[in-house]
Structure formats: structure tokens, C-alpha cells
Subunit: 485 residues, 2 copies
């Protein structure tokens, strides 16, 4: 088999695994979890075996040898397959299987721990998962610290030191900015619920379709923790949850996931499973979700058009003026939960997680110290302590899935989103359309400048090509200041 | 790897495939079908490769050589694995892949053909699928006719000639019985709908749980064509559709699928993937679904208890007497659609399909002759011609999935169901409980006499052990006469 056939085979196995994971989160009966873990571990192991087999490595070497550089996409694909392959072969297959099993167990323990707000339920699993991360970092190798090796898996071409510096720049401005924003945020209110789930489903689907999510090749289901996953080149699944007291919270969640989904739907379908048909990095992925959620979704222009639609669906909004509604969706406050945090305070949550993950990997703190470290750092940034661990160090799913090194990409996404939105709306036609909440030209710009490239360019190069400069905090801070101060 | 580990691996791959198929029928977006076919073909091919590899055959031979016969379940497993293996190795892997692709394409073409009631859309696909069936029958080999080889895959240990004889015995009594039943069926009515879908969902779930379906390890979703599938040792999925004009139609559908599901839930979970942890045959599987749907679900005893519950849920039933309701659910008529047929006429539909399949495989008719042959045979049994092919030869999903040889097992199921119900209710405690619509003792009897054996015994031997005699039409005809004449 030639390399492209082998890549196709691996994509078939991996995407089958995504279907199993999607079902695990959406519809799996409560008593059926154990065997699902085995099925997922089998597919993960099988994909890893395929990607590290001698036959695969030979097909890759052959393809590299015959590449004459005439097709830049082909060359980029070979470069990225090689990069991934060099990482994969360092991880023994049995480690993949053991880690997959530990992640499934960790995920279930995390659910129980969060429910009971009892860190001790999750601690032994977290210990294992951090050990797996450290073991993998050692196997991959790193120049400065183990976290570098993990980060590379989510955001290639960056380093812990670079992130730390970028985050420090951001934090210096964001700390006073967020405090000021919170202080001047006027009291806000929304007419009381219930906002019925069925009506939220209808309204959210209208909004997702209007901004460009294609329901012909995608859908929205219900989960505890919203996510977006791709089950095939034309099969993108969003999930959300519902809150009857405030429909806006999960509407922004759906716009966020739809942003991820539109990126996936904009990738070259013919290259599915190849780097050029895959998202380039989580920092770019998150830029797409945050752009639609925040740059678009929380803008007055968006609501000029969609507030009347919302009023048609939710009767309690009918006498409630747009101006007060905007105040509600642009309110800022210091709250313990990341996923409920507003734009002006969100990155403080990320910076905290980045610091803790780095300390864990550098063995500067033990697992047992996670709750107290979390609470100390939280108090430092937010001025109070989370009421319990469920609203503290147990709130996020990521560690339970082995996703250590993932969090920084959220803030990279915020930074990229602002920079991309600024560059796109510098085009007069896009700016004019966006002012009327017509988002087709904006999506077309993103398709052209981001989506269609897949993973052929490095994230930094992609941002430079799209916006004229590498990612910087400038556009983002300017956006936050203009919206919140 | 030893044989049991290899069987475990194959079960992981096959059950992963079931998850993909389940999603294909329940939630797959309309534009996502193509790649799903590729994913399914890959998993089917991979499982076939595993089951026909030299390593597998060696592990099987090793296990056979060391079997001392001291554990009858182990010996039965080896016998059945060998039987399956001897069949599998005769089918080249590329045929499995090509057939899987043809089935996916055939399935989509069938949906379009049925919608348009245009046989020509489906004909080229059916041609291919019949050719695949004939090719496989040739590869498997047979003594009398190709259909024998297909039948063996669904109902081991029987023959086309034996089925033809059994069906002829049945038909001789059933033809006058059904005509009489239809003639004497009093006009029936049900208070007009709508019976809201959400309330049907609630009521159907209550009934399914009451008869013993375990929602902790199972669920019900919505599809165009109801089915039951097993995604893991403790993960059984039923599907149904809804009709707002008459809630009973799909309630019986749910009881039917729950019967299949309870069988699957009663198989030894520790033996998942082994013959002893798998259903023995479709004729036994169908006996479980038909027993709950018809022997139980259409009985007056069942409704003595559940009609008040139905009245609580569907307000239009409140003034409608039980006696009239029973007349509605026990009405008989000659109708073109198998899945809507009542007990007294159902098997005439099956006998027709069996005859057509046999003719197709014996090349006595061409694909182009299927609609006219269908209509001729239908008129012969039912006295009228189906109004169109959508309600004639295009009504069933089976051929589109390559399931030629499957239909006879429905009538075997009816025969077995009556015989099992008679044997179970010969136990006084079961009969007393069933008279009060308490079905726990009946389910326990089925668990003990059918479910726990998995596929260790042949279907005929299992029926003999459970009821004291091999399958015969006696109990079934007696049941039909007593209920419908």
C-alpha cells in the first residue's frame, strides 16, 4: 500500500473511534461504560499499530524519497506526517492501550468526583494520568521542560517559555482591565425563565444555520459537557447542554461549537485524514469558536438582527428592551467556573490552569496539593476562594481525558480570534456585511484564509499569512478595552 | 494470542461496527452517508481478516487439539467457531469489502426506490446483491440448492426443503384460517389521534421496563425501520418509529424489539463474542420478540393491567371501553404491508418472500420479474394486488442489506414463540402470574431455558430441551385458532 492508502486506513480507524466516543458522551446507557472503554482502547491501539508499523514507515520513507517538491501541499503533508510519525514511534503500543483505559476510568471517576465535590475520588486517577503525561514527555524528549513535549501535541511550533511570556504580557494588562470591567459592569438582568429546552433547541439551530453551520453534514445533540467532534469528512457533531433559567448561556456555547464545526466543515474533504485535510492546531481551532462566540455573538450588530427572532421564540423577552439585553450578555464578573466566565475574565482561568499543569509536570507540587494550589492561585487572581472543589479544580473535563497541555490553546484562540476578526473586517465589504449581521462574507474569508489550508502551514505562519503578523495580544486587548471599559 | 483473546478482538471490531451501523440508522446527517459506508466496510473487512488469518486458524486448531471434552460449553464453542470459521475462510476478504460497499449503496438506493415507488432505482443494486448471495452460496457449497447455504447463516441445522415442508403444512391450515379470521373480524375503531409522540415514548418505555427490558444497559431511539442491535455485552439498543394516529402499532413494535433486547440482555455477558455468549439463531431470536409482542402484548390479560395506564397517558382513551380496544388490537385484515400485518395473516407474507428468494437463487426468475412475481403470488394469497411496488416488493429493508435467507426465520419465530409460551405457562406459577400480567416468572423461565444457553445448543435441540419436542406448527395453529376464530 502506498502512503496515502495507509493514511486513509488510519483515518478510518480513528474516525470510527470518534463515533464511539461521541456515542459515549451522548447516548451510552449508564451501565454500558466498561466495554466501551475496551472498544475505544482497541481502536486507539490498532490505529497506533498501523501508524508505527514497519510497512507504514517504509511507505513514508518511500514517499519522502520520491518527493520532488513540485507540489507544496504534498511536501507539507510529508513533513507533518513525518513529525507525527517521529512522535508516534516513540510511544509503545501497550502504553497507548494502558493510557486509553486509564482515561476512560479517569473520566468516570472525574464525573463521580465532581458530583460529590470530592477530589479524593479523582486523585489516584489524576496521579496516573499525570504520570502517563510525564512518561510520554520523556519518551518524546524536550529541550527545556516536559511541558514542551505535551504542548507540541496541541500547538506545534511553540514552547512553554514562549507561552509563559505571552501569557505574562497578557496578564499584566488583563489583571487591571478585568478588575475595572467587573467594577464598572452595571447590574444586569434577564426576564426570568423557564426558557423551554425545545424552544432553545429551535432557536440555537436557527442561529447556527444562519452563521453558516451546515446541518446537511452535521447535527447538535445533548451532553453534560459541550464539544465538537468530526466523525468523517462530511460529518461534524456538535453537542450542548441546556439551562432553563438563561437561554443565552448555551446559545453562546452552540455558537462556540458551531465555530469549531464550520472550521471542520471548511477543511478539504478530499484530504480527510491527511494533514492538509485536518485542523492545524487547537489554538487555531479555538480561534474559530471564539470568533463566532464572542467577536460575533456578543456584538450589538448580531443582536440587532437576532434579538427580534429571540423575542419571537421566547415570549418573556417581548417587553424587554435590546439595550438591557445587551447589558446582560456583556456583563462581567469574577466567577469560579471557566466555562461560564465572560470574555474579560476568561483568560485568568486559563493562565491559572497553565501554571498548575506546568508545576505538576515539573514535580513542583504533588497531586494532593492540587486543590490548595488551585485555591491559592485563584484567590490571587479573583480575590476569593472557590466555594468547593467541584467549582474549583474538579470543574474541567480535560485532565480526566489526559488532555494536559490543552488549556493554553484557549487563550491562544482568544488572541487569534481577535486578530483574525480585525483583519477580516478591514475588508470594507466584510465590515459592511457584518454590520448588518450578514456573515457569509466573513465565513468566506475564513474559509479562504484559514480553513482551506488545513494543517499545511504552521499556526504562526498561517496567522502571518492571514493577518500580516504573528499572533500578538494587541488586537485582543484592544477589543476587550473597547467592549468592556 | 490464544483463541479466546482472538475471539475477543473480533468481537471488539464487530461490535464497533454495530455502533457505526446504529448511528447510521438513528442520527447520521443526510449528507454524511458515503464515508460511513467506507468505515463500515473497513471494519467488516478487518474482522474478516482477523477471523481468517493463519494465526487464528492455528489458535483454533490448537484449542481443538487440547480439548478433552470435560467442559461441554468449551466443546460447543469450539464446534461452533469451527463451523463459522469453515464458512468464513471460503469467502475472500475482498468479497467481504465489495459486498459491504454494495450493501451500503443498495440500502440508500432502496430508500430512494421505496420513496418513489420505483423498482428500477433498486433493481441494479438487487441484481448485484443476489449475485453476491449466489457467489457466496457457491463458495460455501450446498447439497440441494444455493438457498440452503444462505439459510445456514441465519438458522443453522435446517434446510430449504425442511422449511418448504414446514411452511407448506402451515400454509394449508393458515390459508382457510386467515380467510375466516378476516371475514369474522368485527369492525374495529380506536379513538382518533393525535397520540403525541412524547407521550408514546413515555408509555412505550413504561411497558418495555415492566416486561423486563433493562434501561440501565439499553435504550430506545427513533428510526425509519425499527430494529434491535447489540453494541456490547451490556449495551442493547432498540429503535422504533411513531405514528400519531394509532399508538398501538409501534407499541407492539417496541414490545417486539424489547423481546429481542431481553434475549440479548439475558445472554452470558462474560462470554460476549463467543458462541455461548451469542444468540443461537434468528428463528430463536424472533421467538423472543414475537412471544412478547403477540403471546403477551395482544392478550386480554396484559391489557387488563395496562389499559388503565394507557388511559392515564392518552386522554382520548378515557371513555373508550377495554372490550372495544381489544377488538381493535386483535382485528385481522388482508393488508399489503408485512410489518403492519396481524398475527393471523403475517406468515402468508413470509411464505411469499421465501418462495421469491428461492426462485431468485435458483434463477427461475430474473430481477426484472420480481415486481410481477410478487404481485402474482400476493394476489394468490391475499386476493388483491398491492397498490404499488412501495407497498409490494420494495417494502422491506432486508434485501437491500444483503439479508437473503433471513425471512423464513420470522415464521420459525412465530412457531417457536407459541411453543415456548405454551411450555412456560404449563408451569402453574407462571400461568398464574401471567394471568395477572406479572411477567417476571415468564422472563425467568426464558432466561433459564433459552437465554443462558446462548448458542451452545442447536436451535432444534434447544427447543426440544425447553419444550419437550422439536419445533412444530401445532401450538402456533392452536393459538391462532383460539384467538382469532
Amino acid at each position: 500500500m502506498i502512503l496515502s492508502d495507509r493514511m486513509r486506513e488510519i483515518a478510518l480507524v480513528n474516525s470510527a473511534g470518534h463515533i464511539l466516543s461521541w456515542d459515549q458522551e451522548t447516548y451510552l446507557p449508564s451501565g454500558s461504560a466498561d466495554y466501551r472503554s475496551e472498544q475505544l482502547a482497541y481502536l486507539a491501539t490498532h490505529a497506533h499499530k498501523l501508524a508505527t508499523s514497519d510497512d507504514f514507515l517504509k511507505a513514508l520513507a518511500d514517499a519522502e524519497q520520491t518527493d520532488d517538491g513540485s507540489d507544496p501541499v504534498r511536501t507539507a503533508n510529508l513533513r507533518e506526517i513525518r513529525r507525527e510519525s517521529d512522535r508516534s514511534v516513540k510511544i509503545p503500543t501497550d502504553l497507548v492501550a494502558r493510557e486509553s483505559t486509564a482515561q476512560s476510568a479517569g473520566h468516570h471517576a472525574w464525573i463521580a468526583a465532581r458530583k460529590a465535590s470530592d477530589f479524593s475520588i479523582f486523585a489516584p486517577h489524576l496521579e496516573k494520568l499525570v504520570d502517563f503525561a510525564a512518561e510520554k514527555a520523556d519518551l518524546w524528549g524536550f529541550v527545556n521542560e516536559p511541558y514542551d513535549a505535551l504542548l507540541e501535541g496541541f500547538e506545534r511550533g511553540t514552547s512553554t517559555a514562549a507561552i509563559a511570556e505571552l501569557f505574562e504580557t497578557l496578564r499584566k494588562d488583563l489583571a487591571p482591565l478585568s478588575a475595572q470591567a467587573v467594577a464598572k459592569s452595571p447590574p444586569s438582568e434577564l426576564p426570568p425563565g423557564p426558557y423551554p429546552v425545545e424552544i432553545q433547541q429551535t432557536f440555537n439551530a436557527i442561529v447556527a444555520a444562519e452563521i453558516g453551520f451546515d446541518f446537511h453534514t452535521g447535527r447538535i445533540d445533548t451532553t453534560a459537557h459541550p464539544f465538537c467532534t468530526t466523525l468523517g469528512p462530511r460529518d461534524v457533531r456538535l453537542t450542548t447542554r441546556y439551562m432553563e433559567t438563561d437561554f443565552t448561556s448555551l446559545l453562546f456555547g452552540v455558537m462556540h461549537e458551531a465555530g469549531h464545526g464550520m472550521y471542520e466543515q471548511g477543511l478539504p474533504a478530499a484530504d480527510f485524514g491527511m494533514p492538509s485535510g485536518s485542523s492545524v492546531s487547537l489554538g487555531i481551532h479555538e480561534s474559530q469558536s471564539r470568533l463566532w462566540e464572542n467577536q460575533v455573538g456578543r456584538s450589538p450588530e448580531f443582536w440587532e438582527k437576532f434579538y427580534p427572532v429571540a423575542q419571537k421564540h421566547f415570549q418573556q423577552l417581548r417587553g424587554f428592551p435590546l439595550e438591557k439585553f445587551l447589558r446582560h450578555i456583556q456583563r462581567t464578573e469574577f466567577s469560579p467556573i471557566r466555562v461560564e466566565a465572560d470574555e474579560a475574565t476568561y483568560d485568568l482561568h486559563i493562565i491559572l490552569r497553565f501554571r498548575i499543569e506546568r508545576m505538576l509536570l515539573n514535580r513542583e507540587i504533588t497531586i494532593a496539593q492540587v486543590p490548595s494550589t488551585w485555591n491559592d492561585l485563584f484567590r490571587e487572581s479573583f480575590g476569593f476562594t472557590p466555594p468547593d472543589d467541584a467549582q474549583g479544580c474538579l470543574q474541567d473535563i480535560h485532565w480526566s481525558m489526559g488532555g494536559i497541555g490543552y488549556f493554553p490553546t484557549y487563550t491562544l484562540g482568544n488572541i487569534n480570534a481577535a486578530q483574525l476578526f480585525k483583519a477580516a473586517t478591514a475588508v470594507p465589504e466584510i465590515s459592511a456585511a457584518t454590520a448588518k449581521a450578514d456573515y457569509a462574507p466573513l465565513l468566506a474569508w475564513l474559509r479562504e484564509n484559514i480553513h482551506r489550508h488545513g494543517g499545511a502551514l504552521d499556526p504562526t505562519a498561517l496567522m502571518e499569512q492571514a493577518t500580516g503578523r504573528p499572533p500578538s495580544t494587541e488586537a485582543y486587548l484592544k477589543h476587550l478595552k473597547s467592549r468592556y471599559l
